[in-house]
Assembly symmetry: C2
Homo-oligomer: 445 residues x 2
Amino acid sequence: MTKVIAVGGVAGGATAASQLRRLDPDIGITIYERYEEISYGSCGMPYHISGEVETRDSLVNMTPEKFKQKNIDVKTCHEVIAVHPHNNTVTVLDKKNNIEFIDSYDYLILSPGGSPRILPVLKDTPQTFSLNKIEDLDDLMAYIETHNISEALVVGSGFIGLEVTENLSERGISVTMLQHDDRIYKNIEADMNGMLYEAMNEHGITLKLNTEITKIDGETAELSNGETINAPLIISGTGISPNTGFLKSSGITLTDKGLIPINKNGQTNFDNIYALGDAAVTRYQHVPGLNMQSALAWPAHRLAHIIANQISGDSSITHEGFLGTNIVQFFDCHIASFGLSEREVADIPHFVVDQQQKNKSGYMKNAAPIRIRIYVDKKSGLILRAAVTGTAGVDKRIDVLAAHTRLGGTAFDLINIEVAYAPPFSSPKDVINMVGYKAIEKAKE
Amino acid sequence: MTKVIAVGGVAGGATAASQLRRLDPDIGITIYERYEEISYGSCGMPYHISGEVETRDSLVNMTPEKFKQKNIDVKTCHEVIAVHPHNNTVTVLDKKNNIEFIDSYDYLILSPGGSPRILPVLKDTPQTFSLNKIEDLDDLMAYIETHNISEALVVGSGFIGLEVTENLSERGISVTMLQHDDRIYKNIEADMNGMLYEAMNEHGITLKLNTEITKIDGETAELSNGETINAPLIISGTGISPNTGFLKSSGITLTDKGLIPINKNGQTNFDNIYALGDAAVTRYQHVPGLNMQSALAWPAHRLAHIIANQISGDSSITHEGFLGTNIVQFFDCHIASFGLSEREVADIPHFVVDQQQKNKSGYMKNAAPIRIRIYVDKKSGLILRAAVTGTAGVDKRIDVLAAHTRLGGTAFDLINIEVAYAPPFSSPKDVINMVGYKAIEKAKE
């Protein structure tokens, strides 16, 4: 019997295994997951803090028992600690019984994910939590309740930092956010993030820029600016590192950041070893030759389908890279982008087009501004990067821009996107169209 | 001096004239508009009834005076009553002074719009209003106020019927809607319109299907079902007919419905005569050889830009037909579609794919169902028609489907549209993607 091993049972591994079972009722599938739980919606975890997600169990899609019914063998608390590609085997540590053993595969799917980077000063402090796995959420929720937490420090201002801040605040916990430098949420342009500061102000979030924790003393934190503040709860949101240490001497190619490069089939440098999820790196769909690490759920789910098809024998289903479409909600602020980072786009000759107008017909009572910036490749007219900010309707505009760009639509051709118009939804020349008209003008300059 | 005459000064004519002036500072431009007002957002008119659009003047984009500043000559209350293409002249009736005169053009832009079809039984009844031009809105608002209207009949259930019903109801007026047959809002599939009935129920709207007015007697209406009901105010929303009677002996080609066919440049059968707006007919962008009459603002604005460029000498800017993307809001119901009508699609070999899932991650508190149906061309895999219903997020899905289809994306390729995912906005496999996965399965059957 052909046998597949998946390393990691959260989004990537669990989804790939499920897809594969749908395609092939007979193939042997084993998932090794180093923690207790599998197959949960990790992106939803911040929303359980506020109660927006009412029960933590609603985040859990599948249990080992449910997988068993599908004839998928799930071993939780089992950590794959080495891969031996030339033997097609893995070394597994059964963490509960502290036993090592060898298992063999025909195909290996690597979905080990990442681990939060915790600042040294916060290591081993009992009140510091990250939000990487569902056990972290359980620990955090228990800590908030047993310690009657009414104030918290959030370190970092990425996806997790913003989402946790909003949800702690919605729960009634007073939040101070610390950012080590002078700019928050670097996924968006510095001159487009003003609404985040406004929202913090409006919701009573204290923001301290250029500030780090220098020392934790019990429930107080000493800061680099000389202040001492209460820190009964600290959320660390300072990024993740790929869990690929176990691959270092395997012969599987890793980047200098420890990421696993994959090709259009989802394959690593070994034909029968695939990778996906936060530890994988692929390329941009719309700009050749540029790596894209997208620790995002959408590409993980897409790759799960591709890899399952590849393993089951349909080599026609591939991916041509991703755009990295992303969005975050912070109270009423919706902030989205896709494509190259600002730093990456600087290396390609381009021009920038900005457009701001209302998200619906301007005469409607609650019409709100929406702002789009596109970076247009001077040679091809393609949108290298798009950034959209506003309230309602940001997700629509980024999705339309992404769908258009993916199929090779240029900035100039945005004028032809036939949006559904009625006054509650857009304008007869939507902001999407107007940025196209402006791009045409700008190209003439 | 080259001279352009535009017939009709609402969306199409006024926008084309403005665009032309931007492109050519010297060309002579005259707009003849048969009523008093020009350049207003007619789609917003229903929303003034409820106060969602606070002032009627906010609907007016431009006045004759403002056009004068742009050196565009606007003659209101001037009706073009004949066109003489072989002389390049028009006959104009100055309605205020009841004087006819001849004017000549190098280019003629026809944007005469349509007139509401009023049922014979309602003709000349003082309480019957349509909502076609802004003067109609003024008359209606005055009538509501002076007659202390607290109940109304709405006849018809198209865009106008639904929007007026919602806004009358929001104003506190009790509405009865009459539909002559057994199905409301035929832009959407009969088995997808249930939410409209629910919303009517919830908001206390009385709906009478298979019911017509047989007689108006003062402020009461006799109905075909034998009932007599109060009818102090009646809104007629039973469609429009193109205002093209004045073209009948001109030699300009008209369809049997009186619509003006145009080519990709916006030209009629005369090279220097263009048409756009509710009286024009073009073709579908994604299905060759099928006429599309789209009395919609988006195509009108798009054609205005194309025609202005064509006249100013840039023949490269054309259109390849439209999808007819449309949407309506009725309380919380959002209902959208594009492409062929159900009747048109029946003539092309196709299969249907349905998908229903939540508009955001299912574990979020206010996640709401969204439903998509696509009609997939068996030969090409293109989406011939798409229908989307739900609440928040319908506009996003139809716009993404439209952007994708316009660039030749197939139903199967929907799986690759990289939507911006975060729990408040979508799922890692959005409904857009899932309908693609289902299309792939269905095609295998």
